[in-house]
Amino acid sequence: MSVHEAAAAQRPADPAVIVNGLRRAYGDRTVIQGLDLRIERGEFVALLGESGCGKTTLLRALAGLDPIQGGRIIVPKRPAVVFQEHRLLPWDSLWRNVALGLDGPDARARAAAALAEVGLGDRLDDWPRNLSGGQAQRVALARALVQQPQLLLLDEPFAALDALTRIRMHALVRELVATHRPGVLLVTHDVDEAIALADRILVMRGGRIAFAHRAHRDGLVARGDLLAELGVLAAHAPA
């Protein structure tokens, strides 16, 4: 149907998400209508769009947090989610936060390994309140990845961070995704973040995917196209 469907069909079939004809409404107000989406394992997809276009609604539907009113979603049993806020439990140490939802006697060891991966291996017994915003979000990433998810949903996880921390987080996320190879859906406002991270960039408008862009083209052209699609610039004007 849309461009990205065709593109995805050329890849080996190992989907992390398949969405067909999704409809999501709050009462009478339809937010998502007839949306199709497919994300492969190991593929990093960024979802752009104006505020209120339904990006986060789509992510929450994929996470199983909200009911849907129509269509079909096929996702792994437990997708991992990193929210805009770190959502760490203030009464638990870092390793217990990361181990939240893990069973078994090796929970601490696995949590420790995940924390080491995000560069906080020496802070296992520290409290969340002693962390900076970037560190807290790294713990949230560790908590998501320790579950070894096939699908990782990122809901503007870097929006509240300062510019330098955000750049460091981008590098870390790229590295982690390359290691663990989940399918990733990143919801963001930030065109440059999408370009920096994603294999494929989708623009959502009017409750469906309006534009799909495969990365690794000339960044400048891509940026201009995306900004035009988002209604920020006239079409195909250089950024």
Partner: protein, 286 residues
Amino acid sequence: MSNIDQTAGPIELAQATTDGHLNGADRRHAIGPATLQALSWLAPALLVVIWEALAQGGYLSPQVLPAPSKILRTAYKLTTQGTLLNDLGVSLLRATAGFAIGGAIGFVLGLLVGFSRLAEALIDRSIQMIRAIPFLAVLPLVIVWLGVGEAEKVFLVALGVTFPIYINTTLGIRQVDPKLIELARVQGLSPLALIRRIILPGALPSILTGVRYALATAWLALVVAETIGAQSGLGFLAMDAREFLRTDVIVLTIVIYALIGVLADLIARWLERRLLAWHPNYGAGR
């Protein structure tokens, strides 16, 4: 300051006075926390010394307010020859039993109502109505029901304790951040794990506030219950002393009530510091 340094003559005089002021302010700020802590204990101690002096000087009639030293002697005498320790034990037992029963009832009801909208619909309004009655107003009824024995006293304490624990437990559960409950779903927590890992720790600050309130009402209920028709306990000691105009014994029981109240509050605070070490408003660090 540096601006003033560069100006000449007459203004330097003004600067000197400003400096003098600043030094005064510095000195005031220099009072350390340890000194303040000592002062906070020294002030009431001074009051006791003045009280003793007034009593020794004959300005206070022993019938009105006996000297602290006299009260201490009475305490010693009642401990060695009388039944003070026994009475104290009886009172503490009543308070503990009533607190345990009322606390358990309030906590369980609070859990039910906190977790279940159905339980809230069934229970909450009735509890709120009963709560609106000042619990000492039911005293005559309780005496009719249970007489003036142990059951009546424990019942009154339990009644006073139930509501603060109930309300704060419900409130605490309701106030747990819905975003953390959502996180529990994302992380695949079982309902039991959700309660244990997120809801109870999140509600704990509120529950402990309830415990502190409940300690105060428990104590109040006990004093009233023991003042009416007790055969033993601190309240009985005081009422018995009233018959013989033993002001020293009466003041002694008041002092003991006060000390135990302070002790209970210290225990509650210690619990908060221990259990809420993670909380920026309570914890003393890691």
